[in-house]
């Protein structure tokens, strides 16, 4: 049976199931297939804070959304075109996000009264009329998987018995096979992946391969699926690509910074969602001279990093909001010591423990001000998963050049989301080699640990082991130049201003803020920072697609701001600042530039939708 093939520009698929159903893995594999195929792709995982909430319940639902297209896309998509629901709870939890006409592939196996009740269904949605407005494909995925596995076990390639439970577990591979077929995905990478993963457990390997192929064949043979879709590869910038998540890109950026600075990379960290994966990745990469110390708590993590920085390492600590709060005092010490130190905060929903697995941008003011005394710290933020790589390098550049702690604000959406990344040429990465102090710098042949570089205002980095430069530093106020303890009032005032001037002066090394204003006619500017880049950009496309003018700018540097920002803000009639908080960047902009920015805030633990932002911007432009 030959199936009709329909061409599409872009598709959003959401895989949803129980936490134990392997939806994250399914999504990852589909993403990999899609990336290799050459589509642009962007993903958003979404999972509960419990390791494994009770099976079949709404809080236990885990999902993974993949957006792919034949052009470069910016978000993981607002609403799915296809929902794969592995049980009643997954169906129920995701239904509200669907537009009429959405395709739903649903595993019917678990629609027993007991499971329906667990999902808080009072009647069976597959049997009542509630799904009428969707294209529903009810498939007993579980049973089909079990059958396929059993068949395989009887076949020639069988590597042994697989219990019913293990067989049923492979149903995510059946779903993957089916959806891969539906969208013409290349399957090699998944087959390789499974072979590598289950190489030493042949029975499981056979089961998973069988399930995957059975899924593919199910699409090919049954009449339920009459149409196949094709999304042509995107015309991306030429080069070698891979798919990468924000946390992996951050880890790689740190490793690259270590390599390019010629320094050992040191990570002192304490596990916390959603930052832990950076620790995990760096712990694996010891071959790059990477030290990872899993400390007893966040304070010890940053403490160890500061100690390593004193010793001349490229020192890093990674955490999320609650951990950043705990590190406050030590960041202040870093400010006083003027040592390079990277503090990476992968933000999550707050306050307090908040929503550990959800995203938010509400640590910006904490990053700016969460320390006693006047303790300025540069702050940078990546805009997309792949941009975490570049931002890590930039943070390292600032820390090493200016001898200062730097806070990098990623967030949960960037951390776990992914996109294709044009793999950079190693030689093209910035040269970060620092200059260590090697000899006296005083007029009298002595060493002045707080004598500053006239341009950067950085003090010398004199590491232990350097003869003749023995010196003591500490958190008590230090005398200008000599670094000795000083209680002198004028010296204190001078030092407070010098530290501020040093951070402010970083602006001189930044390129002016870039504004994307294609027509040059826009009267409204939308300004963002961090992970809102995708939805804001997508919204701008929509707005422009409707013939309206909109200017967009996105900040990587939150402290100091890049040059020219004030002029840009004053240039437009209206500045819209969408943030996943209650207006933190807006506060900084208003205070600094006295511009009446219009803040748009959603604090839902979820990225903005391009649609809602487009509506917002259209409203502002047309004065609605």
């Amino acid at each position: 049976m030959t199936k009709e093939v329909m061409q599409l520009d872009r598709v959003v698929i959401r895989f949803a199931g129980d936490s134990g159903d392997g939806m994250q893995l399914t999504g990852d594999r589909f993403t990999a297939e899609t990336a290799v195929f050459g589509n642009d792709v962007s993903t958003l995982p979404n999972f509960p804070a419990e390791i494994r909430a009770p099976a079949g319940t709404l809080p236990g639902v885990s999902s993974f959304q993949v957006h792919f297209a034949n052009y470069d896309i910016l978000t993981s998509g607002d609403r799915p075109d296809v929902l794969v629901a592995m049980n009643p709870a997954a169906l129920k939890a995701n239904l509200a996000d669907l537009r009429p006409g959405t395709t739903i592939i649903v595993d019917t196996h678990d629609f027993s009264p007991r499971n329906l009740q667990r999902a808080e269904y009072t009647s069976n949605p597959l049997e009542d009329d509630s799904l009428q407005s969707y294209h529903v494909h009810p498939v007993d995925l579980t049973q089909l998987t079990v059958d396929a596995v059993r068949q395989a076990a009887e076949g020639p390639d069988s590597a042994g018995e697989v219990g019913r439970k293990d067989a049923a577990r492979a149903k995510n591979m059946f779903a993957l096979g089916l959806v891969s077929w539906l969208f013409h995905r290349p399957t090699e990478s998944t087959l390789e992946y499974l072979t590598a993963k289950f190489g030493d457990r042949p029975a499981l390997l056979a089961a998973n391969l069988a399930a995957f192929k059975a899924g593919w064949n199910y699409g090919e043979t049954t009449e339920d699926f009459a149409v196949r879709y094709e999304v042509k590869p995107a015309a991306l910038r030429p080069g070698a690509y891979r798919n990468i998540s924000g946390n992996l890109a951050l880890a790689y950026g740190l490793i690259a910074a270590g390599e390019r600075s010629g320094l050992p990379l040191f990570l002192g960290s304490y596990p916390i969602t959603p930052a832990s994966d950076v620790l995990h990745e760096l712990a694996r990469q010891k071959a790059f001279n990477v030290y990872t110390v899993q400390a007893e708590d966040e304070i010890a993590g940053i403490g160890a990093a500061l100690g390593a920085a004193f010793g001349g390492a490229l020192a890093v600590t990674t955490t999320s909001g609650p951990g950043l709060a705990l590190k406050s005092e030590t960041i202040g010490l870093g400010v006083a010591l003027e040592l390079p130190l990277l503090v990476c905060d992968v933000q999550r929903g707050g306050p307090s423990t908040g929503l550990p697995t959800k995203t938010e941008q509400a640590d910006l003011l904490q990053a700016m001000f969460g320390r006693n005394g006047e303790a300025p710290v540069p702050v940078v933020a990546p805009r997309s998963p792949a941009d975490c790589f570049d931002t890590a390098l930039e943070a390292a550049r600032i820390a090493l050049t200016y001898r200062t702690p730097v806070i990098l604000l990623s967030d949960g959406a960037l951390a776990n989301g992914s996109e294709p990344w044009r793999i950079p040429d190693v030689e093209s990465l910035p040269d970060l080699r620092p200059e260590f102090a090697t000899g006296p710098n005083g007029d009298d042949g002595g060493f002045l640990p707080y004598l500053r570089d006239p341009e950067t205002l950085a003090r010398p980095w004199a590491v232990p082991g350097t003869p003749g430069l023995e010196h003591r530093i500490g958190g008590i106020e230090k005398a200008d130049r000599t670094g000795e303890v000083s209680y002198d009032p004028d010296n204190h005032d001078r030092m407070v201003r010098l530290r501020q001037a040093k951070v402010d002066g970083i602006a001189g090394s930044l390129s002016p803020v870039e504004v994307d204003d294609p027509s040059g006619q826009a009267r409204v500017l939308v300004l963002g920072w961090g992970s809102t880049y995708g939805p804001i950009g997508a919204a701008c496309r929509r707005v422009r697609g409707e013939g309206l003018d909109i200017a967009q700018a996105h900040l990587r540097h939150l402290n100091p701001f890049p040059p020219g920002l004030g002029e840009v803000l004053h240039h437009y009639d209206r500045v819209v600042v969408p943030e996943m908080n209650l207006g933190q960047l807006a506060l900084l902009l208003r205070a600094r530039f006295l511009v009446d920015v219009y803040g748009y805030h959603k604090v839902r633990g979820m990225p903005f939708q391009a649609e809602e932002l487009a509506d917002l911007l259209k409203g502002v432009i047309t004065g609605g």
Partner: protein
């Protein structure tokens, strides 16, 4: 790479294996910094400083390869007065900071100077974790049983009933014994000494420096302003002989006038007790052995003197060898880099790549 086999009888300072040696010899005065010492006149910290300055030349390593890290407190001013590298950090965090430094820099001799408040109150967690990890740090804990710098509140080593600014009706907190705590945390080296006994203090520094791993040295230190005379029982010529138990490896624990007092092990309970008038051949008399793998004996010793100081062991209670955290971390890195040094380009490319043609 450092040879990691520990030998308790080794004369060398194993903690500085791998640290560049000095050419020639340094003197105590080479370790004096140009900073004026700012403790109260009469403070026990002066004697400790002098002893450390006197000992460091013996270590035989370059001055620039020695680092002192401290927290906050009177005692934590220590690094300012030593002409080495130093960091006066924040309250309680010195062991954590030192861990990062020691892990990345095997060519340094890293020391921590801390107080009873700094190490045991706010910094208690970092202390016990560095001890269990056995990071190659020499920790000097200046125990004056008071918060000196903040002008006299009771500390986690102050005795019950102590009247201070923050306990005007007497403290109700049972104090820690720092050595018991350390042993509970898995310490490989614990010792105790007294500010006023320079010779003993120096001998303990020597033993600590010979230990690779975390060495916790508790130094009873007089704060003559806020807790004067706290350790007089162990210092005053008339009484100290009757109260101090000097630990010497292989020697029976006999002390007091004419060796009248001995430490006995209660054979039924394992408890150590001080008893009078026991014949030399009593098998229950304890013979000191700091090298026992099991820490129970050292723990029993650490309980002597708890409460009233009456019978207080000084010297090295325990010194055993165990893998050293920073050595192990470096060994893993060394294996990884030797096995297949990282290539950044390969890493960045990863496995699933595709090419968009020009």
């Amino acid at each position: 790479m450092v040879d990691l086999v520990d030998d308790p009888s080794a004369e060398g300072f194993r903690s500085v294996f791998g640290v560049p040696r000095v050419e020639g010899t340094l003197r105590a005065r080479d370790f004096k910094s140009d900073q004026e010492v700012r403790w109260c006149p009469g403070c026990g910290d002066y004697a400790i400083l002098a002893a450390v300055q006197g000992f460091l030349p013996e270590l035989g390593v370059r001055r620039e390869n020695i680092v002192f890290i401290s927290g906050i407190g009177c005692s934590s001013r220590f690094p300012y007065y030593l002409n080495t590298y130093g960091m006066h950090s924040i309250h309680g965090r010195a062991p954590a900071i030192a861990t990062g430094l020691a892990t990345t820099r095997p060519d340094l001799s890293v020391w921590v100077a801390t107080g009873d408040g700094d190490a045991l109150s706010i910094g208690g967690n970092h202390l016990i974790h560095s001890l269990r990890r056995n990071v190659n740090l020499k920790i000097l804990l200046f125990n004056n049983r008071i918060y000196g710098l903040t002008k006299g509140q009771y500390s986690p080593t102050s005795e019950v009933g102590k009247i201070t600014k923050s306990s005007p009706f007497g403290s109700v907190d049972e104090p820690f014994d720092p050595l018991s705590l350390a042993l509970g945390a898995g310490a490989t080296f614990v010792a105790r000494t007294i500010d006023s006994d320079r010779k003993h203090l120096t001998s303990v520094l020597r033993a600590a420096a010979a230990h690779r791993g975390t060495a916790l040295v508790e130094i009873y230190q007089n704060c003559n302003i806020f807790n004067d005379g706290a350790f007089d029982l162990l210092k005053e010529p008339g009484v100290r002989g009757e109260s101090v138990i000097r630990l010497e490896h292989g020697q029976p624990l006999r002390f007091g006038t004419d060796g009248r007092l001995v430490v006995l092990r209660d054979l039924a309970t394992g408890e150590l007790r001080v008893v009078e008038g026991v014949p030399d051949d009593d098998p229950a008399i304890v013979v000191h052995d700091a090298y026992q793998a099991d820490p129970t004996y050292a723990f029993g010793l650490s309980r002597l003197g708890v409460g009233d100081l009456r019978y207080t062991p000084i010297g090295v209670l325990r010194s055993v060898s165990r893998p050293v955290y920073d050595d192990e971390v470096r060994a893993q890195i060394a294996r990884a880099t030797q096995h297949r040094p990282g290539d950044l380009g390969t890493l960045l490319r990863g496995k699933d790549t595709w090419t968009v043609p020009a």
